[in-house]
């Protein structure tokens, strides 16, 4: 066995340049595969961060249509409901449309009670609740644009016309790595009072209600009970779990997610072609050696195992290096793209897939050359010249 391993290592190092290039190619392929899988994972970040005890109620026609404010009390009266918070998507522009980040007008106190994963400094939170024009920003958002507590944050309204100005009162951290800290929140009451003055008919209108329920197991039943309250009214509602709500967004951009997934496998095939070529060339050059080994009495299986072992050794080296590089590169990519991907973390599943792909490439690349090495007739092989 020791002799077998020694042969493989020696064989691998015989063409240092070729092996080095192949390992480099594998590294790049495994790295880009890992990054693409991580980006796809980021797409589902919202759904993964969803809590089972939160429901989202929206207008049944679509998210564009609001619901009247008085629905809040009716929803709270539904048995099984613990808390209800109103939220409106604000969609304002900070300096330039390219500097996009999500902004929500929320029922301050109620809303954050339902999101325990947003960690506040207690003093800052109190300061936010006291200031009518106060705002809360996430850590990642604050780092991206350099917001500090006390800064003024001007926004230009798109859905709610006019110029708006807020004061950053608190910065929240995420309890877990998957918590989205690229959002901004401010008081729903401030939005509503301002709209009352500017466009009175658009006051008292709520985008979505976030509903906290006592028993997550009863979510389906409670969703139906809420929707039943408003059936045949001017604004019928649709309630679903927060996870289903978030997955709905993912489904709308499904084509892009599928595209990235497909492309991430294309790179594996590219490197498979390169790797298979390397092994085929190696095996062709060494046909006479394989014939010699067989003439000395080694079984065809042993010769094939030599080819497979070499292929696996190269694939593993490239794969492991690629995985090692994925973490720093993903972290760098995350800082470069700012708040575009709220959560960008390399998951254990991604690492497992990277390793699996590298091994699969190693095995697949050795198939044809290994078979050829095992089957070569001694006389023919001895006669062959590389």
């Amino acid at each position: 066995m020791r002799q077998f391993l020694k042969l493989i290592v020696r064989n691998t190092l015989r063409h240092k340049l070729r092996t080095g290039l192949t390992v480099l190619g594998l590294l790049i392929a495994v790295l880009s595969f890992g990054l693409l899988q991580t980006v796809v994972g980021a797409w589902y970040a919202g759904a993964n961060a969803a809590a089972p005890d939160r429901l989202v109620t929206r207008n049944a026609i679509s998210l564009v249509f609001p619901m009247p404010l008085h629905y809040r009390d009716k929803i709270r009266a539904v048995p099984g409901v613990k808390r209800v918070g109103a939220a409106n998507w604000f969609g304002g522009i900070y300096q330039d449309p390219k500097k996009f980040f999500p902004q929500f007008a929320v029922d301050g106190a109620q809303y954050f009670e339902m999101y325990p994963e947003y960690r506040f400094v207690e003093e800052e939170k109190r300061a936010f609740l006291r200031d009518r024009r106060g705002a809360v920003v996430g850590r990642k958002l604050a780092d991206t644009h350099g917001f500090r507590v006390g800064d003024t944050l001007p926004l230009r309204g798109t859905i709610f016309p006019g110029d708006w100005s807020f004061t950053v009162r608190a910065i929240y951290d995420g309890a877990e790595a998957r918590t989205d800290t690229s959002q901004m929140f401010f008081h729903w009451d401030y939005l509503n009072e301002t709209m009352k003055r500017r466009v009175a008919r658009r006051a008292d209108q709520v985008g979505v209600f976030v509903v906290q329920i006592a028993e997550p197991a009863r979510s389906a039943e409670i969703s139906q009970a809420i929707d039943a309250q408003f059936r045949n009214s001017a604004a019928e509602t649709l309630s679903e779990t927060e996870k289903a709500f978030q997955l709905g967004f993912v489904a709308m951009t499904e084509a892009i997610v599928v595209g990235i997934r497909v492309v991430s496998f294309v790179v594996v095939f590219i490197i498979l072609a390169v790797m298979a070529n390397t092994m085929a060339m190696t095996a062709r050059e060494r046909l006479s050696e394989y014939a010699t080994l067989k003439a000395l009495g080694f079984a065809p299986g042993y010769v094939a195992a030599l080819v497979l072992g070499e292929s696996l050794a190269i694939a593993l080296a490239g794969g492991l290096l690629g995985i090692a590089c994925t973490f720093p590169v993903a972290a760098w990519f995350g800082t470069q793209t700012g708040t575009l991907f709220p959560v960008l973390a390399v998951s254990p599943a991604t690492v497992a897939m990277q390793l699996g792909c590298a091994l699969a490439v190693g095995v697949a690349a050795a198939l044809l050359p290994g078979r050829r090495a095992a089957r070569v007739r001694i006389v023919e092989g001895l006669r062959a010249i590389g």
Binding site: L24, S62, A234, G248, M252, I270, V274
Partner: protein, 382 residues
């Protein structure tokens, strides 16, 4: 100076069929990704450009960004309509409805547009493909071609339920691949009523003379009674797809460049092996009087021929993608948008240049090594 015939390079590739096929195959995959991304972006742009008419303008609320987010009050709309430059104008309402897809049942946002007969006349690219146009002041709707294919309940004779009402689908229209193919159209007044809307979303108008646009834009945007943005229709729709188009091209080009490194390494390995395997041959060629430069050219030609093969294979596969239609949510308008991969002559040339760069980068180092071999050493190696 004599140069080595091209046939020498090509025949060498032919001799090592498996190696050539694998290396060219790797390059073909990279060319495929590169071309497919450019085709996708071209398709998106084409859909958007063909949506806008050169002499039409779109009036929306200031800095609203899209028609769905916009609101134009009735008196404001009337003011825009009465401008002397305007020939015909259509006051429209645009909303999104959540509708399940036919095959998967997945719910997605569909753009619904309420408009008047003038509005239909403002879009000459729209033709009825099946059934008939909706009648004014009725709850009839017509659906765009790509909506009819993909969404449930959108066939002629079927009924759609939204805004607490049933809407009868009476026709399918073909908008020549533009963004309107992803919309549902109905009567503006009926829609305003059932969505309980007091304000229009936008005003679309045709100008008698497109040259008067700048003056009109300046006058309307500085009018204190109005808070509106005035844009040419073509520019408006280009801006609608800017984010999606930017995302596709940046992500796609980054990937192509990274992937191409893999393919270049493949070419390099193949060419180094070719040089090593033919050292004796190179010595013989040099002894026959071929210069170093001729050897360099011959090996570069071999690498480029490899790249050309990869390009042809990759582009052939990419051109098959023209049969595929993509539909996704447009981030600016939040509505579904369908478009297809479009192959343009520019993309053919761009991918050829890309493949040539890959072949050159992969072949230059091995070719230099071949050219640097000294005659005596090379002949001895054989």
């Amino acid at each position: 100076m004599k140069s080595i015939p091209l046939a020498y390079s090509v025949r060498n590739l032919w001799t090592r069929k498996l190696t050539t096929a694998l290396t060219a195959g790797g390059m073909a995959l990279v060319v495929f990704v590169f071309a497919a991304v450019l085709m996708l972006d071209a398709g998106l742009r084409q859909a958007m450009v063909s949506t806008g008419q050169p002499d039409n303008i779109v009036v929306t609320r200031r800095s609203s960004g899209s028609e769905v987010q916009s609101g134009v009050e009735r008196p404001q709309a009337a003011l825009v309509e009465s401008q002397p430059e305007v020939v015909t104008a259509s006051k429209e309402t645009v909303v999104l409805i959540a509708q399940p897809k036919r095959d998967s049942g997945v719910v997605s946002n569909v753009t619904v547009r309420g408009l008047s007969p003038q509005g239909i006349a403002l879009r000459p690219q729209v033709r009825i493909a099946a059934g008939r146009m909706f009648r004014a002041a009725s709850t009839e709707v017509v659906v765009g071609r790509s909506i009819a294919q993909r969404f449930a309940g959108t066939g002629v004779g079927e009924r759609l339920r939204f805004g607490a009402r049933d809407w009868l689908v009476v026709g399918v229209f073909d908008a020549d691949g533009s963004a309107f193919d992803s919309e549902i159209w109905g009567d503006v007044d009926q829609m305003m009523q059932s969505f309980r809307r007091q304000v229009y979303s936008s005003v679309i108008a045709r100008l008698a003379d497109p040259a008067t646009f700048d003056a009109l834009k300046q006058r309307l945007e500085s009018d204190p009674r109005l808070t509106v943005d005035v844009k040419r229709e073509r520019q408006f729709y280009e801006e609608q797809s800017a984010a999606l188009s930017g995302f596709i091209s940046i992500l796609g080009l980054t990937l192509s460049v990274i992937f191409s490194i893999g393919a270049m390494i493949g070419a390099m390995i193949t060419m180094y092996a070719a040089v090593a395997g033919r050292t004796g041959e190179i010595g013989a060629l040099r002894a026959l009087g071929f210069r170093r430069r001729a050897i360099l050219a011959a090996f570069l030609a071999e690498a480029l021929a490899l790249a050309a093969l990869g390009w042809a294979l990759g582009l052939a596969a990419a051109s098959l993608m023209q049969l595929v239609h993509i539909s996704t949510m447009n981030w600016q308008s939040f509505g579904e948008l369908a478009f297809s991969f479009t192959l343009t002559p520019k993309i053919v040339l761009q991918s050829l240049a890309f493949a040539a760069v890959m072949g050159f980068a992969g072949g230059v180092l091995p070719a230099l090594r071949a050219a640097r071999l000294s005659i005596v050493d090379a002949l001895r190696a054989a």
